[in-house]
Amino acid sequence: MATTIERPSTPEGGAPQPPQRDYTRGRERPVGGFELWMWLFMRISGIMLLVLALGHTLIMHLPAGGVDRVDFGFVAARWGSPFWRTWDWMLLTLALIHGINGLRNITLDYVRKPGVRFAMNMVFYVLGFVLFVLGSVIVVTFDPTDWPPVA
């Protein structure tokens, strides 16, 4: 846990120095409860997203053709495999929770008025939930044979 020590003034008697921290004992971290669980979630999901999100990004954007390859047939072929459907659903779920908790942390830092902060966070939660339901329904129920093959 980082310890903040009091600001010493300069020997010349100038302006006080910025606070110094003792970095040798690690960074600050929530002491317990919900915030500590979210702290842990951000790090565990971050490790999983290193594979899921960075992997997805590199696979979709770097090979020749990049995202220009993506059309209905591309997704139909890709989601023909339960492996990619599972990958995409896990990516959807973890990235939404990770990202929305990130937005919540930012509002806690910058939005001081409790009402505004509450309203902003509720917008994020509702939006996240709606997108989670929408994305989950599509990734689970999508069936390319619902449409006649394009000639």
Partner: protein, 133 residues
């Protein structure tokens, strides 16, 4: 330590981030994180359009196929790359707190890994964008 801080006094108060290198990775982590979650909101919706059939979905994916969007796309990939690498740095330091005592080495290694991979990604994607022109 005290001598060093006196020398850096001007920097310390000239920058909103107190002159510590880690503050720059901190602010970039926030900016890239917000950029990626905002894109994710749009991306879930554009992918969901596939549930309305090939005609609707192909109209959406056509919108991504132009050079200006490809430049934004490069920015997105670089944002994901930075957030991933810097996030792993944070996680390593938090799970192995003794690394915090070597923050300068850890931070610069992380920045170097990002720079090298960012150059590689920019070269690959930049060539593809130029080939489209």
């Amino acid at each position: 330590m005290a001598t060093r801080l006196r020398k850096k006094q001007k920097d310390d108060f000239g920058s909103p981030y107190l002159g510590h290198e880690g503050q720059w990775s901190w602010i970039f982590h926030r900016i890239t994180g917000v950029a990626v979650i905002l894109f994710l909101f749009a991306h879930v919706v554009d992918t969901a359009v596939i549930g309305w059939g090939p005609e609707a979905y192909d109209r959406v994916t056509e919108a991504y196929k132009n050079p200006a969007v490809h430049v934004l796309e490069l920015g997105l990939v670089l944002a994901v790359l930075f957030h991933s690498i810097n996030g792993m740095k944070i996680t390593l330091i938090d799970f192995f707190p003794s690394l915090a005592g070597h923050i300068k080495v850890v931070g610069r290694t992380s920045a170097a890994i990002f720079l090298v991979s960012a150059i590689a990604v920019t070269a690959i994607m930049g060539k593809q964008i130029l080939d489209l022109l």
